[in-house]
Symmetry: C2
Subunit: 265 residues, 2 copies
């Protein structure tokens, strides 16, 4: 699975490569400078409740764009893109059960579907690297580890569920600097939600993430947890909407929006 330097670097070229099946892996570190986004697609009948769930839980679910019903084009964040084909991998949930992980969702698309793009922590990772802070899953070339927590989201209509978090290990003084750096990214999960004790937020084993891959925690490091856009997938498993399509964890939609724009509302 190889892509060109230009496809690695530019969001539109990367999306075209993904569309033709040339890249099917996680998107962390790709198209540096472009904001990445979580995808959630639901029938219009569930769309208002879900959007209420998002605005009531802005840390895991910062809304970047919501498409017109039936349209797969995100006209604000990536005009011309197609949300049915431009992500490396999808998850299709039917009545809350994972029904498949296809490479496109052309055959699942319907005229009543509404797509939601939510901010993603991959967006602030370049800012962490620029500060000399470690991003372990990039170092180890794996998907970021993600965990369901014991923290409940605010329910809205039929949607409820646990907060899902991503984790990056670092030394305590690095965690402080990472808090300062990421707090600015208000549209990409912002500051961490927890530092230090996985058990305090209901995580039993760091070595066994619920989504993504485990990463090494070195001596002297603590786990740092950020709210994660996989939270809606946990809500889908809890609330069982008739149909819900999402990105596969770590396999994001890459927008045309500059990541620095995620630092302002």
């Amino acid at each position: 699975m190889t892509i060109t330097h230009e496809e690695h670097a530019r969001p539109d070229a990367l999306r075209a490569a993904i569309r033709r099946g040339a890249w099917t892996g996680p998107t962390a570190g790709l198209a540096p400078g472009a904001a990445q986004a979580n995808l959630v697609v639901l029938p219009q009948s569930d769309a208002l409740d879900f959007l209420r769930f998002c605005v009531h839980n802005p840390q895991p679910c910062p809304v970047l764009e919501v498409t017109e019903p039936g349209s797969p084009e995100p006209v604000h964040t990536a005009p011309g893109a197609d949300l049915r084909t431009d992500l490396p991998r999808y998850r299709v949930y039917r009545a809350g059960e994972l029904a498949g992980e296809p490479g496109d969702v052309i055959d699942h698309w319907r005229e009543d579907l509404v797509a939601f793009l939510l901010g993603c922590s991959f967006t602030f990772e370049r800012a962490l690297l620029a500060e000399g802070l470690p991003v372990r899953h990039l170092e180890e070339r794996v998907n970021v580890p993600m965990y369901r927590t014991s923290i409940a989201c605010r329910p809205s209509g039929r949607f409820s569920g646990p907060l899902v978090v991503s984790m990056r290990p670092m030394r305590p003084e690095q965690a402080i600097r990472a808090t300062q750096v990421t707090a600015r990214f208000v549209r990409a999960h912002g500051a961490p939600v927890h530092i230090g004790d996985p058990a305090a937020i209901g995580i039993a084993e760091l070595e066994r993430p619920d989504y993504g891959d485990p990463v090494t925690v070195h001596a002297g490091e603590v786990p740092v947890f950020w709210a994660c856009g996989v939270t809606p997938q946990a809500a889908a498993e809890t609330c069982r909407p008739e149909l819900m399509i999402t990105h596969a964890p770590g396999h994001m939609f890459v927008t045309d929006e500059e990541e620095i724009r995620q630092t302002v509302a």
Copy 2:
């Protein structure tokens, strides 16, 4: 029109005073420390389009809460409050025409109505005062001046319209400090959208605001403009929904949420 010290100071006591008709004026400066909110009420059939409009225009329309259809209770920001009675004055628009400015909307309420609470710039005024920065409409005991601009909001579904701004005059060095102070309030309009030249954003006469009252601009001061939650009222005039209920400009809903919470997503 007098209220007690406690009613002046505490959001729940203030709402009770408003409910019984003891306070019908603007809310700037009341219940210090409590976040204030713009109100928009629409039929459920318009709710998804309007919420999309809000998330695509987060600077004028930062969403704090959206009620369950039919419920007038904001369970997250002021549990127990009643949005039909707890604002000092309302505006009722029918097909885009202002149909009245009642003191409550009990008679207009329907089971299909959804209420939206949006962040308000009154929330950051105490932070401005704490920095020694002037808030002229508080000094002059009038409503804040608000203007329709030539800046278009991002349209969503049936909703479109111009950005509405509020204005506070100050010296240039004060405007810089005010930018730093308000930029943190990401859920209350954040940093200014313009400093200095009203004509550059389509404002012909500072002395004739489109909403609220004019204020004095002293020699050496420049007008500083912030995105304003009256923007949806301008959209209502443009898009003519069947029914839209809002707060009267400057007559906000006072929540129980600490204003400092508006600095984080």
